[in-house]
Amino acid sequence: MVDLTMVLLAVFAGIALFFAYLAISERNLVRALIYSAVQSSAFAFIFYLLRAPDIVLVYVPISVGIYPAAILFLIRKTKEVEEP
């Protein structure tokens, strides 16, 4: 059962998990956003490996373009650093 797809899936899922943790624990919201965008990009690769090219085509512009831009605009409207 161990083929290259499974291994790559595990690798990208691991990357996504690591960056999800970084995004949660980071106090600076802009940095947290960048970690979160990296996590979404890893998800895009996972969708590609799961053979869903339609989802990949919508996930790439959303995860690296629209989502970070929207959140950046929202961060600009509040404060950059999360208060404890």
């Binding site: 998990l17 999800a20 943790y21 949660i24 624990s25 090219p53 339609d54 990949v56 085509l57 919508v58 790439v60 512009p61 959303i62 373009g65 629209i66 831009a69 929207a70 950046l72 605009f73 929202l74 600009r76 409207k77």
Partner: protein, 267 residues
């Protein structure tokens, strides 16, 4: 301590969910091969011999999205536009001024962005216009196209975009044209019903057993898959300008928004 707790929580959730999926079978048994439902669609999406069940498109996903499950997609689109209308309604009364400082980022970034804009347009248009042939479609293309106004707003400024004609009103009317187009394509079969008296269904694409209406599957020898290409084009238009409106509104600075929406102090 906080970091340790977060890390533990993340790891525990990851391990539990992977155990649930692999050993516990939370997603059902792993199935290698083609399910009978998938087999039906794969057999019928592009099947000239079985015209009453086909969508005349080799792209199974787009066929399901805009033909077999067309009404679902219609309502999904409506939900998306309700969100955009909500955003517009929240920003009511805020005037988007056309003039302001156009400082933006450095000249190098601006030049590179300028070069990327036409490429972004054609790539998005290609995704939309090949939505019925290869993976892609209206929403995907709209999301790809919406990146262009966003990077223009970030790299140049909102005023750069608005001076060249992409104002909130223009974007709103183009978005409405897209939605209107989708509605018209969905209702065209009814024109056949009125004029010829034969049975026709809303969002019908190809002929059905008791209905002779059909969108042309080929135009000039090229496969256009009946209504699918029109849905994709109009959805492309609507999604692009829907996102553009939201980003034009979000780029208004917070002080102006507060001045309008803040209201009076509560006693």
């Amino acid at each position: 301590m906080r970091k340790f707790l977060t890390a533990t929580a993340v790891i525990v959730i990851a391990v539990l969910s992977s155990v649930a999926v692999t050993v516990g079978g939370a997603l059902g048994p792993l199935f290698n091969g083609v399910r009978s439902l998938a087999e039906f669609y794969l057999l019928n999406v592009f099947n000239a011999h079985n015209r009453t069940l086909t969508a005349m498109s080799p792209e199974a996903v787009t066929s399901i999205v805009w033909d077999y499950r067309g009404l679902d997609t219609l309502f999904e689109t409506v939900v998306f536009y309700m969100a955009i209308i909500g955003c517009v309604a929240l920003h009511r009364g805020i005037e988007l001024t056309k003039r302001g400082s156009e400082v933006g980022l450095s000249r190098i970034v601006k030049t590179v962005t300028k070069i990327l804009i036409p490429l972004n347009i054609v790539v998005a248009a290609s995704i939309a216009l090949h939505g019925h042939l290869t993976p892609g479609g209206g929403f995907q293309a709209g999301a790809a196209m919406a990146v262009a106004p966003i990077i223009i707003i970030v790299v140049f400024s909102r005023f750069f975009l608005m001076k060249r004609g992409v104002t909130k009103e223009v974007a709103l009317s183009l978005r409405s044209m897209g939605l209107l187009g989708i509605a018209l394509v969905a209702l065209i079969p009814l024109v056949a019903w009125v004029t010829t008296g034969s049975v026709a269904y809303v969002m019908q694409n190809q002929v059905k057993t008791n209905s002779s209406f059909s969108f042309p599957a080929y135009i000039g020898g090229s496969l256009v898959s009946g209504s699918l290409i029109w849905y994709n084009i109009f959805e492309f238009l609507a999604v692009t300008f829907g996102f553009t409106i939201v980003f034009l509104l979000l780029s208004v600075d917070e002080e102006t928004v507060r001045k309008v929406l803040g209201g009076d102090k509560h006693e």
